[in-house]
Symmetry: C2
Protein backbone atom coordinates (compact mmCIF):
# COMPACT_ATOMS: atom_id res chain seq x y z
CA UNK A 1 0.00 0.00 0.00
CA UNK A 2 1.39 3.40 -0.93
CA UNK A 3 0.21 6.65 0.61
CA UNK A 4 -1.14 9.53 -1.51
CA UNK A 5 2.06 11.45 -0.64
CA UNK A 6 4.25 8.61 -1.91
CA UNK A 7 2.23 8.39 -5.12
CA UNK A 8 2.53 12.14 -5.68
CA UNK A 9 6.29 11.97 -5.13
CA UNK A 10 6.66 9.02 -7.52
CA UNK A 11 4.73 11.01 -10.13
CA UNK A 12 6.95 14.05 -9.58
CA UNK A 13 10.09 11.92 -10.02
CA UNK A 14 8.75 10.39 -13.22
CA UNK A 15 7.62 13.70 -14.65
CA UNK A 16 10.91 15.52 -13.98
CA UNK A 17 12.93 12.59 -15.33
CA UNK A 18 10.84 12.52 -18.51
CA UNK A 19 11.34 16.25 -18.98
CA UNK A 20 15.10 15.99 -18.41
CA UNK A 21 15.31 13.17 -20.96
CA UNK A 22 13.12 15.04 -23.49
CA UNK A 23 15.48 18.03 -23.27
CA UNK A 24 18.57 15.87 -23.76
CA UNK A 25 19.88 16.60 -20.27
CA UNK A 26 19.73 13.04 -18.95
CA UNK A 27 20.29 9.95 -21.12
CA UNK A 28 18.59 6.76 -19.80
CA UNK A 29 20.95 3.78 -19.50
CA UNK A 30 18.36 1.09 -18.83
CA UNK A 31 19.02 0.81 -15.08
CA UNK A 32 17.17 2.59 -12.24
CA UNK A 33 19.26 5.52 -11.06
CA UNK A 34 21.81 5.34 -13.90
CA UNK A 35 21.93 8.11 -16.51
CA UNK A 36 24.31 9.64 -18.96
CA UNK A 37 24.37 13.40 -19.34
CA UNK A 38 23.96 15.56 -22.40
CA UNK A 39 26.30 18.44 -23.21
CA UNK A 40 24.18 21.18 -21.57
CA UNK A 41 23.95 19.25 -18.27
CA UNK A 42 27.68 18.57 -18.25
CA UNK A 43 28.42 22.22 -19.03
CA UNK A 44 26.37 23.41 -16.03
CA UNK A 45 28.13 20.88 -13.77
CA UNK A 46 31.55 22.11 -14.90
CA UNK A 47 30.56 25.74 -14.48
CA UNK A 48 29.25 25.23 -10.95
CA UNK A 49 32.39 23.27 -10.08
CA UNK A 50 34.48 26.28 -11.15
CA UNK A 51 32.56 28.38 -8.59
CA UNK A 52 33.54 25.90 -5.89
CA UNK A 53 37.17 26.13 -7.02
CA UNK A 54 36.98 29.93 -6.95
CA UNK A 55 35.49 29.92 -3.44
CA UNK A 56 38.42 27.87 -2.12
CA UNK A 57 41.13 29.36 -4.34
CA UNK A 58 42.99 31.27 -1.65
CA UNK A 59 43.11 28.47 0.91
CA UNK A 60 46.16 26.70 -0.54
CA UNK A 61 44.53 23.27 -0.91
CA UNK A 62 46.49 20.41 -2.48
CA UNK A 63 44.71 19.03 -5.54
CA UNK A 64 44.16 15.26 -5.65
CA UNK A 65 42.09 13.51 -8.32
CA UNK A 66 41.12 9.84 -8.12
CA UNK A 67 39.39 7.45 -10.46
CA UNK A 68 36.32 5.85 -8.86
CA UNK A 69 37.95 2.73 -7.43
CA UNK A 70 40.00 2.34 -4.26
CA UNK A 71 42.03 -0.41 -2.61
CA UNK A 72 39.93 -3.16 -1.05
CA UNK A 73 42.27 -3.21 1.95
CA UNK A 74 41.84 0.51 2.53
CA UNK A 75 38.09 0.13 2.18
CA UNK A 76 38.11 -2.58 4.85
CA UNK A 77 39.99 -0.29 7.24
CA UNK A 78 37.50 2.54 6.69
CA UNK A 79 34.67 0.71 8.53
CA UNK A 80 32.29 1.42 5.62
CA UNK A 81 31.10 -2.20 5.75
CA UNK A 82 30.03 -1.71 9.35
CA UNK A 83 27.83 1.28 8.50
CA UNK A 84 26.71 0.98 4.87
CA UNK A 85 27.20 -2.59 3.55
CA UNK A 86 24.12 -2.29 1.32
CA UNK A 87 25.59 0.73 -0.52
CA UNK A 88 28.99 -0.85 -1.26
CA UNK A 89 30.24 -1.87 -4.70
CA UNK A 90 32.67 -4.79 -4.69
CA UNK A 91 34.50 -5.35 -8.01
CA UNK A 92 34.90 -8.93 -9.23
CA UNK A 93 36.59 -10.36 -12.31
CA UNK A 94 37.12 -13.61 -14.19
CA UNK A 95 40.32 -15.49 -13.40
CA UNK A 96 39.89 -18.85 -15.11
CA UNK A 97 41.12 -21.03 -17.94
CA UNK A 98 39.82 -21.58 -21.47
CA UNK A 99 37.62 -24.32 -20.04
CA UNK A 100 36.18 -22.02 -17.35
CA UNK A 101 35.60 -19.45 -20.06
CA UNK A 102 33.52 -21.94 -22.05
CA UNK A 103 31.44 -22.63 -18.92
CA UNK A 104 31.01 -18.87 -18.37
CA UNK A 105 29.74 -18.39 -21.92
CA UNK A 106 27.36 -21.35 -21.54
CA UNK A 107 25.87 -19.71 -18.41
CA UNK A 108 25.52 -16.42 -20.27
CA UNK A 109 23.80 -18.27 -23.14
CA UNK A 110 21.32 -19.87 -20.72
CA UNK A 111 20.60 -16.51 -19.05
CA UNK A 112 22.15 -17.61 -15.76
CA UNK A 113 24.30 -15.54 -13.40
CA UNK A 114 27.71 -15.78 -15.10
CA UNK A 115 29.50 -13.76 -12.42
CA UNK A 116 28.75 -15.86 -9.33
CA UNK A 117 32.16 -17.51 -9.45
CA UNK A 118 34.10 -14.32 -10.17
CA UNK A 119 36.70 -13.78 -7.44
CA UNK A 120 37.00 -10.42 -5.71
CA UNK A 121 39.62 -8.10 -7.22
CA UNK A 122 41.92 -5.86 -5.18
CA UNK A 123 39.50 -2.94 -5.63
CA UNK A 124 36.02 -1.69 -4.71
CA UNK A 125 34.07 1.32 -5.98
CA UNK A 126 34.78 4.59 -4.18
CA UNK A 127 31.95 5.29 -1.69
CA UNK A 128 32.76 8.98 -1.06
CA UNK A 129 35.26 11.34 -2.68
CA UNK A 130 37.32 11.81 0.48
CA UNK A 131 37.96 8.08 1.08
CA UNK A 132 41.03 7.78 -1.18
CA UNK A 133 42.60 10.82 0.50
CA UNK A 134 43.08 9.44 4.02
CA UNK A 135 45.33 6.43 3.20
CA UNK A 136 47.76 8.81 1.44
CA UNK A 137 48.24 10.73 4.72
CA UNK A 138 49.27 7.91 7.05
CA UNK A 139 51.99 9.30 9.33
CA UNK A 140 52.51 12.71 10.90
CA UNK A 141 50.93 15.85 9.47
CA UNK A 142 52.80 19.14 9.16
CA UNK A 143 51.87 21.77 11.77
CA UNK A 144 48.62 23.35 10.62
CA UNK A 145 47.46 20.03 9.13
CA UNK A 146 46.45 19.50 5.51
CA UNK A 147 43.75 20.76 3.20
CA UNK A 148 42.90 18.67 0.12
CA UNK A 149 40.78 19.56 -2.90
CA UNK A 150 39.31 16.36 -4.32
CA UNK A 151 36.80 15.35 -6.99
CA UNK A 152 35.60 11.85 -7.76
CA UNK A 153 32.75 9.82 -9.07
CA UNK A 154 31.29 7.81 -6.17
CA UNK A 155 29.06 4.74 -6.13
CA UNK A 156 26.03 4.09 -3.94
CA UNK A 157 24.00 0.97 -4.54
CA UNK A 158 20.60 2.54 -3.98
CA UNK A 159 18.56 2.19 -7.19
CA UNK A 160 15.90 4.92 -7.13
CA UNK A 161 13.40 6.63 -9.40
CA UNK A 162 14.42 9.99 -7.97
CA UNK A 163 16.64 11.52 -10.69
CA UNK A 164 18.58 13.24 -7.88
CA UNK A 165 19.50 9.88 -6.32
CA UNK A 166 21.79 8.33 -8.91
CA UNK A 167 23.91 5.23 -8.40
CA UNK A 168 27.05 7.03 -9.52
CA UNK A 169 27.68 10.75 -9.31
CA UNK A 170 30.40 13.31 -8.67
CA UNK A 171 31.35 14.80 -5.32
CA UNK A 172 33.60 17.83 -5.24
CA UNK A 173 35.11 18.09 -1.77
CA UNK A 174 37.46 20.07 0.38
CA UNK A 175 38.89 17.82 3.08
CA UNK A 176 40.57 19.12 6.22
CA UNK A 177 42.90 16.94 8.27
CA UNK A 178 44.28 18.35 11.52
CA UNK A 179 43.24 19.26 15.05
CA UNK A 180 39.61 19.22 16.24
CA UNK A 181 39.61 23.04 16.16
CA UNK A 182 40.95 23.17 12.60
CA UNK A 183 38.34 20.67 11.45
CA UNK A 184 35.39 22.39 13.14
CA UNK A 185 36.51 25.72 11.71
CA UNK A 186 36.68 24.17 8.21
CA UNK A 187 33.23 22.67 8.55
CA UNK A 188 31.75 25.96 9.78
CA UNK A 189 33.52 28.02 7.10
CA UNK A 190 32.14 25.84 4.29
CA UNK A 191 28.68 25.74 5.85
CA UNK A 192 28.66 29.51 5.24
CA UNK A 193 30.37 29.37 1.86
CA UNK A 194 28.10 26.58 0.65
CA UNK A 195 24.97 28.56 1.48
CA UNK A 196 26.40 31.59 -0.27
CA UNK A 197 27.34 29.59 -3.38
CA UNK A 198 23.93 27.98 -3.73
CA UNK A 199 22.18 31.30 -3.09
CA UNK A 200 24.30 33.06 -5.73
CA UNK A 201 23.02 30.65 -8.39
CA UNK A 202 19.45 31.35 -7.33
CA UNK A 203 18.68 28.23 -5.32
CA UNK A 204 16.58 28.47 -2.12
CA UNK A 205 18.69 26.72 0.49
CA UNK A 206 17.90 25.46 3.98
CA UNK A 207 20.48 24.21 6.48
CA UNK A 208 19.64 21.19 8.57
CA UNK A 209 21.27 18.82 11.02
CA UNK A 210 21.45 15.38 9.39
CA UNK A 211 22.59 11.80 9.73
CA UNK A 212 23.98 9.22 7.34
CA UNK A 213 21.75 6.26 6.32
CA UNK A 214 23.40 3.71 8.63
CA UNK A 215 22.39 0.10 8.00
CA UNK A 216 20.18 -2.07 10.20
CA UNK A 217 19.25 -2.05 13.87
CA UNK A 218 22.67 -0.97 15.14
CA UNK A 219 22.58 1.79 12.54
CA UNK A 220 19.69 3.50 14.32
CA UNK A 221 21.95 4.17 17.28
CA UNK A 222 24.84 5.36 15.12
CA UNK A 223 22.49 7.80 13.38
CA UNK A 224 21.14 9.11 16.69
CA UNK A 225 24.70 9.59 18.01
CA UNK A 226 25.72 11.48 14.88
CA UNK A 227 22.79 13.87 15.31
CA UNK A 228 23.29 14.30 19.06
CA UNK A 229 26.85 15.37 18.45
CA UNK A 230 26.03 17.83 15.62
CA UNK A 231 28.48 16.09 13.28
CA UNK A 232 26.66 16.38 9.96
CA UNK A 233 24.90 19.34 8.36
CA UNK A 234 23.24 19.36 4.98
CA UNK A 235 22.33 22.18 2.61
CA UNK A 236 18.90 21.26 1.33
CA UNK A 237 17.17 22.43 -1.83
CA UNK A 238 13.71 21.48 -3.14
CA UNK A 239 13.97 19.58 -6.43
CA UNK A 240 11.01 17.24 -7.04
CA UNK A 241 9.23 18.13 -3.80
CA UNK A 242 8.78 21.11 -1.50
CA UNK A 243 8.40 18.78 1.49
CA UNK A 244 11.10 16.20 0.87
CA UNK A 245 14.12 18.39 0.22
CA UNK A 246 17.32 17.15 -1.47
CA UNK A 247 20.74 17.42 0.15
CA UNK A 248 22.97 19.19 -2.38
CA UNK A 249 25.93 19.83 -0.11
CA UNK A 250 27.02 18.19 3.13
CA UNK A 251 29.41 19.40 5.79
CA UNK A 252 30.80 16.62 7.95
CA UNK A 253 33.00 16.42 11.00
CA UNK A 254 34.27 12.84 11.41
CA UNK A 255 36.15 13.40 14.67
CA UNK A 256 39.06 10.91 14.83
CA UNK A 257 37.35 8.17 12.78
CA UNK A 258 39.63 8.30 9.71
CA UNK A 259 42.70 9.48 11.60
CA UNK A 260 42.42 6.40 13.76
CA UNK A 261 41.71 3.99 10.87
CA UNK A 262 44.65 5.19 8.78
CA UNK A 263 47.20 6.13 11.47
CA UNK A 264 47.26 9.88 10.82
CA UNK A 265 48.72 12.07 13.55
CA UNK A 266 49.01 15.79 14.13
CA UNK A 267 52.37 17.47 14.65
CA UNK A 268 51.69 17.19 18.39
CA UNK A 269 51.32 13.42 18.14
CA UNK A 270 47.54 13.34 18.63
CA UNK A 271 45.30 11.24 16.38
CA UNK A 272 44.24 13.57 13.57
CA UNK A 273 40.64 14.66 13.21
CA UNK A 274 39.03 15.16 9.80
CA UNK A 275 36.18 17.13 8.27
CA UNK A 276 34.93 17.53 4.73
CA UNK A 277 32.51 19.56 2.69
CA UNK A 278 31.08 17.79 -0.34
CA UNK A 279 29.12 19.29 -3.21
CA UNK A 280 26.90 16.83 -5.09
CA UNK A 281 27.44 18.20 -8.57
CA UNK A 282 24.72 16.27 -10.44
CA UNK A 283 22.15 17.19 -7.78
CA UNK A 284 23.04 20.87 -7.91
CA UNK A 285 22.71 20.87 -11.72
CA UNK A 286 19.34 19.08 -11.44
CA UNK A 287 18.20 21.71 -8.93
CA UNK A 288 19.30 24.50 -11.28
CA UNK A 289 17.34 23.09 -14.24
CA UNK A 290 14.32 22.61 -11.99
CA UNK A 291 14.34 26.16 -10.64
CA UNK A 292 15.45 28.07 -13.74
CA UNK A 293 14.06 25.99 -16.61
CA UNK A 294 15.43 23.52 -19.14
CA UNK A 295 17.19 26.04 -21.38
CA UNK A 296 20.17 27.82 -19.85
CA UNK A 297 19.69 30.63 -22.40
CA UNK A 298 16.49 31.52 -20.51
CA UNK A 299 17.92 31.42 -17.00
CA UNK A 300 17.83 34.67 -14.95
CA UNK A 301 20.57 37.10 -15.98
CA UNK A 302 22.10 37.12 -12.50
CA UNK A 303 22.47 33.33 -12.49
CA UNK A 304 23.86 33.27 -16.04
CA UNK A 305 26.31 35.92 -15.01
CA UNK A 306 27.57 34.07 -11.92
CA UNK A 307 28.01 30.88 -13.96
CA UNK A 308 29.65 32.71 -16.88
CA UNK A 309 26.96 31.47 -19.26
CA UNK B 1 63.03 -16.86 -15.41
CA UNK B 2 63.01 -13.30 -16.68
CA UNK B 3 65.05 -12.13 -19.65
CA UNK B 4 67.50 -9.20 -19.42
CA UNK B 5 65.03 -7.23 -21.58
CA UNK B 6 62.17 -7.90 -19.17
CA UNK B 7 64.34 -6.88 -16.21
CA UNK B 8 65.34 -3.64 -17.94
CA UNK B 9 61.71 -2.86 -18.69
CA UNK B 10 60.64 -3.58 -15.09
CA UNK B 11 63.40 -1.23 -13.91
CA UNK B 12 62.25 1.45 -16.32
CA UNK B 13 58.65 1.14 -15.09
CA UNK B 14 59.76 1.38 -11.46
CA UNK B 15 62.05 4.32 -12.07
CA UNK B 16 59.51 6.37 -13.99
CA UNK B 17 56.79 5.61 -11.45
CA UNK B 18 59.08 6.69 -8.60
CA UNK B 19 59.87 9.94 -10.40
CA UNK B 20 56.20 10.66 -11.11
CA UNK B 21 55.35 10.06 -7.46
CA UNK B 22 58.28 12.19 -6.24
CA UNK B 23 57.04 15.09 -8.37
CA UNK B 24 53.49 14.76 -7.06
CA UNK B 25 52.10 13.75 -10.48
CA UNK B 26 50.94 10.26 -9.49
CA UNK B 27 49.63 9.35 -6.02
CA UNK B 28 50.04 5.65 -5.09
CA UNK B 29 46.82 4.01 -3.88
CA UNK B 30 48.30 0.74 -2.61
CA UNK B 31 47.16 -1.39 -5.58
CA UNK B 32 49.20 -2.30 -8.70
CA UNK B 33 48.06 -0.07 -11.55
CA UNK B 34 45.94 2.26 -9.43
CA UNK B 35 46.99 5.87 -8.90
CA UNK B 36 45.54 9.20 -8.02
CA UNK B 37 46.75 12.27 -9.88
CA UNK B 38 48.20 15.52 -8.58
CA UNK B 39 47.02 18.90 -9.82
CA UNK B 40 49.73 19.33 -12.49
CA UNK B 41 48.98 15.92 -14.04
CA UNK B 42 45.25 16.64 -14.08
CA UNK B 43 45.84 20.06 -15.61
CA UNK B 44 47.83 18.56 -18.51
CA UNK B 45 45.11 15.96 -19.08
CA UNK B 46 42.42 18.64 -19.24
CA UNK B 47 44.48 20.81 -21.56
CA UNK B 48 45.16 17.97 -23.98
CA UNK B 49 41.50 17.04 -23.91
CA UNK B 50 40.64 20.60 -24.98
CA UNK B 51 42.86 20.10 -28.05
CA UNK B 52 40.83 17.01 -28.95
CA UNK B 53 37.63 19.03 -28.54
CA UNK B 54 39.03 21.78 -30.76
CA UNK B 55 40.06 19.27 -33.45
CA UNK B 56 36.50 17.94 -33.66
CA UNK B 57 34.70 21.23 -32.99
CA UNK B 58 33.29 21.73 -36.48
CA UNK B 59 31.99 18.20 -36.98
CA UNK B 60 28.69 18.70 -35.12
CA UNK B 61 29.12 15.81 -32.69
CA UNK B 62 26.52 15.19 -29.99
CA UNK B 63 28.05 15.32 -26.52
CA UNK B 64 27.33 12.37 -24.20
CA UNK B 65 28.98 11.88 -20.83
CA UNK B 66 28.67 8.69 -18.79
CA UNK B 67 29.77 7.67 -15.33
CA UNK B 68 31.96 4.55 -15.38
CA UNK B 69 29.23 1.93 -14.93
CA UNK B 70 26.85 0.49 -17.51
CA UNK B 71 23.86 -1.84 -17.50
CA UNK B 72 24.77 -5.49 -16.97
CA UNK B 73 22.22 -6.48 -19.64
CA UNK B 74 23.79 -4.14 -22.19
CA UNK B 75 27.21 -5.47 -21.26
CA UNK B 76 26.02 -9.02 -21.90
CA UNK B 77 24.76 -8.07 -25.35
CA UNK B 78 28.08 -6.43 -26.27
CA UNK B 79 29.93 -9.80 -26.39
CA UNK B 80 32.72 -8.39 -24.19
CA UNK B 81 32.62 -11.57 -22.11
CA UNK B 82 33.39 -13.62 -25.19
CA UNK B 83 36.52 -11.62 -25.97
CA UNK B 84 37.88 -10.14 -22.74
CA UNK B 85 36.39 -11.89 -19.66
CA UNK B 86 39.63 -11.42 -17.70
CA UNK B 87 39.44 -7.61 -18.07
CA UNK B 88 35.81 -7.26 -16.95
CA UNK B 89 34.66 -5.63 -13.70
CA UNK B 90 31.42 -7.03 -12.30
CA UNK B 91 29.88 -4.96 -9.48
CA UNK B 92 28.44 -6.82 -6.48
CA UNK B 93 26.73 -5.57 -3.35
CA UNK B 94 25.37 -6.75 -0.02
CA UNK B 95 21.66 -7.58 0.08
CA UNK B 96 21.13 -9.28 3.42
CA UNK B 97 19.56 -8.90 6.84
CA UNK B 98 20.96 -7.74 10.17
CA UNK B 99 21.99 -11.34 10.80
CA UNK B 100 23.81 -11.60 7.46
CA UNK B 101 25.48 -8.32 8.28
CA UNK B 102 26.83 -9.74 11.54
CA UNK B 103 28.22 -12.72 9.60
CA UNK B 104 29.81 -10.35 7.05
CA UNK B 105 31.53 -8.39 9.81
CA UNK B 106 32.76 -11.61 11.44
CA UNK B 107 34.35 -12.66 8.13
CA UNK B 108 35.96 -9.24 7.78
CA UNK B 109 37.28 -9.55 11.35
CA UNK B 110 38.81 -12.97 10.57
CA UNK B 111 40.45 -11.64 7.38
CA UNK B 112 38.26 -13.82 5.16
CA UNK B 113 36.66 -12.90 1.83
CA UNK B 114 33.57 -10.98 2.98
CA UNK B 115 32.28 -10.41 -0.55
CA UNK B 116 31.95 -14.00 -1.77
CA UNK B 117 28.22 -14.04 -1.11
CA UNK B 118 27.53 -10.59 -2.56
CA UNK B 119 24.97 -10.90 -5.37
CA UNK B 120 25.60 -9.26 -8.72
CA UNK B 121 24.08 -5.79 -9.10
CA UNK B 122 22.44 -4.50 -12.30
CA UNK B 123 25.72 -2.84 -13.32
CA UNK B 124 29.29 -3.57 -14.41
CA UNK B 125 32.24 -1.25 -14.89
CA UNK B 126 32.48 0.42 -18.29
CA UNK B 127 35.07 -1.41 -20.42
CA UNK B 128 35.47 1.27 -23.12
CA UNK B 129 34.08 4.80 -23.42
CA UNK B 130 31.96 4.01 -26.48
CA UNK B 131 30.07 1.08 -24.90
CA UNK B 132 27.32 3.17 -23.23
CA UNK B 133 26.68 5.01 -26.51
CA UNK B 134 25.39 2.11 -28.64
CA UNK B 135 22.38 1.06 -26.50
CA UNK B 136 21.09 4.65 -26.68
CA UNK B 137 20.92 4.38 -30.50
CA UNK B 138 18.77 1.27 -30.89
CA UNK B 139 16.42 1.91 -33.84
CA UNK B 140 16.90 3.74 -37.12
CA UNK B 141 19.57 6.40 -37.57
CA UNK B 142 18.93 9.67 -39.40
CA UNK B 143 20.38 9.84 -42.92
CA UNK B 144 24.07 10.63 -42.56
CA UNK B 145 24.23 8.61 -39.33
CA UNK B 146 25.40 9.94 -35.97
CA UNK B 147 28.60 11.31 -34.51
CA UNK B 148 29.03 11.22 -30.72
CA UNK B 149 31.64 12.91 -28.54
CA UNK B 150 32.12 10.84 -25.39
CA UNK B 151 34.41 10.77 -22.36
CA UNK B 152 34.48 8.18 -19.62
CA UNK B 153 36.64 6.46 -17.09
CA UNK B 154 37.03 2.83 -18.15
CA UNK B 155 38.09 -0.24 -16.19
CA UNK B 156 40.49 -2.98 -17.27
CA UNK B 157 41.43 -5.64 -14.78
CA UNK B 158 45.06 -5.93 -15.75
CA UNK B 159 47.22 -5.01 -12.73
CA UNK B 160 50.61 -3.88 -14.05
CA UNK B 161 53.76 -2.12 -12.91
CA UNK B 162 53.75 -0.05 -16.10
CA UNK B 163 52.46 3.38 -15.00
CA UNK B 164 50.90 3.69 -18.48
CA UNK B 165 48.78 0.57 -17.94
CA UNK B 166 46.39 1.65 -15.20
CA UNK B 167 43.31 -0.27 -14.06
CA UNK B 168 41.09 2.74 -14.51
CA UNK B 169 41.72 5.62 -16.88
CA UNK B 170 39.93 8.09 -19.16
CA UNK B 171 39.17 7.61 -22.82
CA UNK B 172 38.04 10.58 -24.87
CA UNK B 173 36.36 9.28 -28.00
CA UNK B 174 34.57 10.32 -31.14
CA UNK B 175 32.19 7.56 -32.19
CA UNK B 176 30.71 7.29 -35.70
CA UNK B 177 27.60 5.27 -36.37
CA UNK B 178 26.41 4.91 -39.97
CA UNK B 179 27.31 3.22 -43.25
CA UNK B 180 30.59 1.33 -43.79
CA UNK B 181 31.86 4.23 -45.91
CA UNK B 182 31.02 6.83 -43.23
CA UNK B 183 32.76 4.73 -40.58
CA UNK B 184 35.90 4.09 -42.61
CA UNK B 185 36.11 7.79 -43.48
CA UNK B 186 35.81 8.68 -39.75
CA UNK B 187 38.52 6.22 -38.82
CA UNK B 188 40.86 7.50 -41.53
CA UNK B 189 40.17 11.17 -40.72
CA UNK B 190 41.05 10.69 -37.05
CA UNK B 191 44.09 8.57 -37.89
CA UNK B 192 45.41 11.74 -39.55
CA UNK B 193 44.12 14.13 -36.88
CA UNK B 194 45.47 11.97 -34.07
CA UNK B 195 48.97 11.97 -35.54
CA UNK B 196 48.81 15.72 -36.01
CA UNK B 197 47.60 16.31 -32.43
CA UNK B 198 50.30 14.17 -30.85
CA UNK B 199 52.96 15.73 -33.09
CA UNK B 200 51.85 19.25 -32.16
CA UNK B 201 52.53 18.53 -28.48
CA UNK B 202 56.01 17.29 -29.37
CA UNK B 203 55.49 13.54 -29.15
CA UNK B 204 57.19 11.20 -31.66
CA UNK B 205 54.33 9.09 -33.01
CA UNK B 206 54.29 5.90 -35.07
CA UNK B 207 51.18 4.36 -36.64
CA UNK B 208 50.77 0.61 -36.53
CA UNK B 209 48.21 -2.03 -37.34
CA UNK B 210 47.07 -3.61 -34.06
CA UNK B 211 44.78 -6.12 -32.42
CA UNK B 212 42.89 -6.24 -29.15
CA UNK B 213 44.12 -8.62 -26.40
CA UNK B 214 41.49 -11.31 -26.99
CA UNK B 215 41.31 -14.01 -24.30
CA UNK B 216 42.44 -17.61 -24.63
CA UNK B 217 42.91 -19.98 -27.52
CA UNK B 218 39.91 -18.76 -29.54
CA UNK B 219 41.19 -15.24 -28.97
CA UNK B 220 44.29 -15.92 -31.08
CA UNK B 221 42.08 -16.37 -34.12
CA UNK B 222 39.98 -13.29 -33.35
CA UNK B 223 43.16 -11.24 -33.07
CA UNK B 224 44.51 -12.59 -36.38
CA UNK B 225 41.19 -11.82 -38.11
CA UNK B 226 41.20 -8.28 -36.74
CA UNK B 227 44.70 -7.69 -38.14
CA UNK B 228 43.97 -9.35 -41.48
CA UNK B 229 41.04 -7.03 -41.99
CA UNK B 230 42.93 -3.83 -41.00
CA UNK B 231 40.29 -3.00 -38.39
CA UNK B 232 42.45 -1.46 -35.65
CA UNK B 233 45.25 1.09 -35.86
CA UNK B 234 47.17 2.50 -32.94
CA UNK B 235 49.21 5.66 -32.54
CA UNK B 236 52.25 4.56 -30.60
CA UNK B 237 54.60 6.69 -28.51
CA UNK B 238 57.68 5.59 -26.53
CA UNK B 239 57.18 6.13 -22.78
CA UNK B 240 59.22 3.74 -20.65
CA UNK B 241 60.85 1.95 -23.60
CA UNK B 242 62.03 2.76 -27.12
CA UNK B 243 61.29 -0.84 -28.19
CA UNK B 244 57.97 -1.54 -26.51
CA UNK B 245 55.92 1.48 -27.54
CA UNK B 246 52.70 2.58 -25.82
CA UNK B 247 49.39 2.95 -27.65
CA UNK B 248 48.16 6.48 -26.83
CA UNK B 249 45.35 6.61 -29.37
CA UNK B 250 43.44 3.91 -31.19
CA UNK B 251 41.31 4.09 -34.30
CA UNK B 252 38.87 1.22 -34.61
CA UNK B 253 36.42 0.06 -37.22
CA UNK B 254 34.00 -2.45 -35.63
CA UNK B 255 32.08 -3.28 -38.82
CA UNK B 256 28.52 -4.29 -37.81
CA UNK B 257 29.43 -5.73 -34.40
CA UNK B 258 27.67 -3.12 -32.23
CA UNK B 259 24.98 -2.31 -34.80
CA UNK B 260 24.00 -5.96 -34.75
CA UNK B 261 24.17 -6.34 -30.94
CA UNK B 262 22.03 -3.28 -30.25
CA UNK B 263 19.67 -3.28 -33.25
CA UNK B 264 20.91 -0.07 -34.87
CA UNK B 265 19.96 0.49 -38.50
CA UNK B 266 20.85 3.05 -41.13
CA UNK B 267 18.20 5.14 -42.88
CA UNK B 268 18.34 2.56 -45.68
CA UNK B 269 17.49 -0.25 -43.28
CA UNK B 270 20.95 -1.84 -43.23
CA UNK B 271 22.59 -2.87 -39.97
CA UNK B 272 24.65 0.13 -38.90
CA UNK B 273 28.44 -0.03 -38.83
CA UNK B 274 30.47 1.77 -36.17
CA UNK B 275 33.95 3.20 -35.75
CA UNK B 276 35.64 5.10 -32.95
CA UNK B 277 38.79 6.99 -32.18
CA UNK B 278 39.87 6.92 -28.56
CA UNK B 279 42.52 9.06 -26.88
CA UNK B 280 44.01 7.54 -23.72
CA UNK B 281 44.30 10.74 -21.70
CA UNK B 282 46.41 9.46 -18.80
CA UNK B 283 48.85 7.79 -21.21
CA UNK B 284 49.25 10.93 -23.30
CA UNK B 285 49.96 12.99 -20.16
CA UNK B 286 52.51 10.39 -19.00
CA UNK B 287 54.18 10.55 -22.44
CA UNK B 288 54.31 14.35 -22.24
CA UNK B 289 55.99 14.34 -18.81
CA UNK B 290 58.44 11.69 -20.04
CA UNK B 291 59.44 13.61 -23.17
CA UNK B 292 59.37 17.16 -21.85
CA UNK B 293 60.28 16.78 -18.17
CA UNK B 294 58.45 16.83 -14.85
CA UNK B 295 57.89 20.59 -14.68
CA UNK B 296 55.51 22.03 -17.24
CA UNK B 297 57.17 25.44 -16.72
CA UNK B 298 60.25 24.00 -18.42
CA UNK B 299 58.50 22.36 -21.38
CA UNK B 300 59.42 23.61 -24.88
CA UNK B 301 57.77 26.94 -25.71
CA UNK B 302 55.98 25.47 -28.74
CA UNK B 303 54.36 22.73 -26.62
CA UNK B 304 53.42 25.16 -23.85
CA UNK B 305 51.90 27.39 -26.46
CA UNK B 306 49.77 24.63 -28.05
CA UNK B 307 48.51 23.54 -24.62
CA UNK B 308 47.90 27.12 -23.48
CA UNK B 309 50.25 26.69 -20.52
Amino acid sequence: MTSPQATALADAYRQYTDELVAHGLLIPQGVRGLYGRGGAMEDVIERFERLVTAAGANDGADVMRFSPIISRKHFERSDYLKSFPDMAGSVHSFAGTDRDHAALLAKLERGEDWSDGFPATEVVLTPAACYPVYPTLTGTLPRGGRLVDVLSFVFRHEPSDDPARQQMFRQREYVRIGTPEECRAHRDLWLERGQELLSRVGLPVKVDLANDPFFGRAGKMLAANQRDQNLKFELLVPICSEEKLTACTSCNYHQEHFGHSFGIHTADGETAHTACVGFGLERIALALFKHHGFRTSQWPASVRNVLGL
